[in-house]
């Protein structure tokens, strides 16, 4: 069976060039980078190069990058670490209702443990209001954490505008850029970002590696104690092959960004237009055009439930995801879709198709051919659907 992977926002395959490079550091240059000897030194050099590759993609200095075990750890390190380090100054945090759980749940945890938390709402396109953010700022506000691009609906937040405000008011600004890395250009200096989370496995690098950009002069308390690696910010033997792979993936992402943006945008718009015209009772979730992440398609298909849609797609070789409760791991459907004002029913029927480098026009044609049949079949089974409902 031909398989079409349309779940790149969940994770990506490792680029063969990246995998090959890592292999070298598994079996040949396997030393501990802290070691004095040959095996350690060779790895140390490669680590330094990776740090530069990562820094370059986001406009940072290599010394401002702390490698972590992934986006989740970087988000936690940024938020827990900054909150702790800044507690003398204040205890108020601001975030948005559509953040990834790694941000939202960390903020909520702090909100129950001595900090005050404001969760900003979003509009129906999944975008926060800068005015509301301004109003939420208090003298004791120490951190604003707003994601760059949303992982479910692809909405892009007004990061530059927020950065100007936080800079002016001397508040730390953390941005989760896990989804935008390699797809939107990021310049931490120009955007006035103090802390930026990125993750390797969303840009064709290995899983289990991420990084936190920490602007020079900004202090975050560590989550973990130990061998004092990463300038004490992140102890633990460095995952050298993983970091080196991430570095390479960043380099490739930088080289490919422009052409990939064009490629993905064209596939995205073809897919959205096709779905909207071929299936009735469908709603596009998230903005369209330039406010939408280039590789994100998210639609609610009324009267059917997301997981059964995914299973049906899987049976014809198409891998996708959904914000239905049955796939969210909780009893409620996606908190992002609910925050955008969707009813539970409509949120249950959401389908995310996230595009990647390997996808082709033919892939989209195939999906546009098959998806309507699946929808028909599931709707015929649904007690909520009657032919007249359109």
């Amino acid at each position: 069976m031909k398989r079409i992977y349309l779940d790149h926002s969940a994770t990506t395959p490792v680029d063969p060039q990246v995998a090959e490079l890592m292999m070298k550091y598994f079996v040949d240059y396997y030393g501990n980078p802290s070691s004095v000897h040959y095996y350690g030194r060779e790895v140390r050099k490669a680590l330094d190069e990776a740090r530069t590759q990562v820094a370059t993609l986001i406009g940072a200095n290599p010394a401002e990058i702390a490698f972590t075990s992934g986006g989740t750890e970087a988000d936690n390190l940024a938020i827990q670490g900054a909150a702790k380090a800044k507690l003398k100054k204040g205890n108020h945090l601001i975030t948005s209702a559509i953040e990834h759980h790694a941000v939202l749940d960390t903020c909520k945890h702090l909100g129950k443990n001595g900090y005050e938390l404001t969760i900003l709402p979003v509009d129906e396109e999944g975008i926060i209001s800068v005015d509301e953010l301004k109003k939420a700022i208090r003298p004791e506000t120490i951190l604003v954490s707003i994601m760059h691009a949303n992982n479910e609906v692809g909405s892009i937040q007004p990061i530059e505008e927020i950065g100007k405000i936080t800079k002016q008011q001397d508040i730390l600004f953390h941005v989760d850029a896990v989804q935008s890395l390699g797809k939107c250009s990021i310049d931490v200096k120009a955007m006035n970002i103090d802390l930026l989370t990125i993750s390797s496995h969303k840009i064709y690098g290995p899983k289990g590696v991420g990084a936190l950009y920490i602007r020079k002069g900004v202090r975050v308390s560590p989550l973990m104690f130990g061998g004092a690696q990463e300038r004490k910010i992140r102890s633990g033997t460095e995952n050298a092959p993983g970091i080196i792979g991430f570095g390479k993936a960043c380099e490739l992402a930088g080289q490919r960004m422009e052409s990939e943006r064009a490629h993905l945008t064209s596939l995205r718009d073809k897919l959205i237009d096709g779905i909207m015209s071929k299936i009735d009772n469908v709603k596009l979730n998230g903005p369209s055009g330039s406010k939408r992440l280039v590789n994100n398609v998210n639609v609610s298909i009324n009267f059917i439930e997301g997981e059964s849609l995914l299973l049906s797609l899987d049976m014809i070789g198409v891998a996708a995801s959904s914000g239905s409760a049955c796939t969210s791991g909780s009893l409620d459907p996606s908190h992002v879709l609910l925050a955008m004002g969707l009813s539970h029913e409509v949120a249950h029927g959401s389908l995310r198709l996230s595009l990647g480098m390997q996808n082709t026009d033919e892939d989209i044609d195939y999906v546009l051919e098959e998806l309507p049949k699946i929808v028909d079949r599931l709707r015929a089974m649904s007690p909520l659907y009657t032919k007249t409902s359109c």
């Binding site: 009267f303 059917i304 059964s308 239905s324 539970h344 029913e345 089974m381």
Partner: protein
Amino acid sequence: MYSDKVIDHFTNPRNVGEIEGANGVGQVGNAKCGDIMRISLVVEEDIIKDIKFKTFGCGAAVATSSMVTEMVKGKTLEEALKVTNSTVAEALGGLPETKLHCSNLAADAVHDAIKNYLEKTKV
């Protein structure tokens, strides 16, 4: 995650639809929680002669609905009332832990339809 039987019942669900002249109709769940199962059945002389379902829900919800219709079709009402959500899950070769509660209500829907039949015929 799902057993082969679940996948089979999801892919080729038995007894999908609504019976026009049903003398018992039952429904459980709601769209908010993501699962709705509707059962319509025809009872003749205490025996379920025909049964059909319509389900909005995940793979487990569809498969349990399909399975329960097979399990009770041709059975007496008394026998059908003995079929529970967990015997349905068993018949499917088990369900993932997370699906045991919210998506495994098909037997309840059948019981609801039988109750509806009994109430109707009482009158």
